[in-house]
Assembly symmetry: C2
Homo-oligomer: 214 residues x 2
Amino acid sequence: MGESDATQHTAEGAGPSRIQRRNRARIIEAALDVFSQHGFRGATLDQIAERAGLSKPNILYYFTGKEEIHVTLLNQLMDRWLAPLRRLDPDGEPLEEILTYVRRKLKMSQKYPRESRLFANEILQGAPRIAPHLEDDLKPLVDAAAATIQGWIDAGRIAPTDPRHLIFSIWATTQHYADFEAQVGVLMEGRAATDGAERFLTTLYTRMLRSDQG
Amino acid sequence: MGESDATQHTAEGAGPSRIQRRNRARIIEAALDVFSQHGFRGATLDQIAERAGLSKPNILYYFTGKEEIHVTLLNQLMDRWLAPLRRLDPDGEPLEEILTYVRRKLKMSQKYPRESRLFANEILQGAPRIAPHLEDDLKPLVDAAAATIQGWIDAGRIAPTDPRHLIFSIWATTQHYADFEAQVGVLMEGRAATDGAERFLTTLYTRMLRSDQG
DNA sequence: GTGGTCTTTTACCAAATGGTCAACTTAACG
DNA sequence: CGTTAAGTTGACCATTTGGTAAAAGACCAC
């Protein structure tokens, strides 16, 4: 947001110093831990400072406030989050494309559960800080993906359904394993949730989309 | 928790007074608003007090603290939340039973979005206050439901799949419309999300479970 | 209406929290 | 090695927040 220039403390021409890069990275990493676990209002600068191994004033030397840390985190997150959807290829084999998308989404949930929870927290709270991103970045992407899927349906290459609800269901089912881990853990004790999830979702979307239906 | 007796202020034999019932209800209602929107730590007693139309000390006359309000809310929620799953009838027509369950779950999301978000917040945070309920109430219910579904699969009446992941996917897809409403709203502008959701989910689970697959 | 109980409020507190500032230390570089 | 800018910190502050004490007010049975 704002000037978005990280060189606020260094000379004009040069980029951020070695120390700046290291400490900013530490803060972001610590903040991801804390924000994803407690939400924005539940997180404290003291917690972030402790986890980052820095003093609180030192953190405020690198970021102008709690809010800026959170916004920075969300901005970084959006890029990574939208990447899989960008790779949906209109020229690919439809079912294979969608299944690949499902698997990528699921892997992201498993590899980056904190990011998933951070995002979930933000949306749950009504997206107060990320709403512009949803309009500007996410919506066009979803519109494009929906058009691609609709094209496949019109060509009779996958079974007809509402593309947008299809996308929602993929998000919901994949992110569920990260966002509701506390619940999944209790109910799947002993069983391997991860392997089962990929097999289940592959089956679900294969049966849903095979083109000999309608 | 504790004695769980609401008559802490009234005479031994009698139940809670008319005023107690009214004010407790107001507090619970206000707290549902505030907790579901901001999470436990993000909510303040002042916000709850204002929305309830009572003073803060007056609220603490009816509840011993912020935590007790939250726990009371979660306890009430669990009953309503688990009801649909209890109605899954092993002797019913399998596909119809599951579709009915899906529709009931979806209707609950639409009718009680605040409750859905309250629950999502709690689980996201690691279920610190509701973990016992998950073990004691939810788990046995899910075990029973999974057994019922497995029975249907073994009898060849629905297509084979993992019952537990099936249940997770139903929760995820239905609650998504309440918990991620801020996102769904942006992406579905103009379109009617509600109607589309029921049709989509009916199609999804019909195709998933029709017994001529394996 | 009077006595006693239930309910509500005013005033207050201690702890937590986001943030500031001036002084101090460390790194960079000619 | 000395000077300058970058980086760090202890002390501090204002506000918010969960919670308390005690007195005042409302309600009810008699």
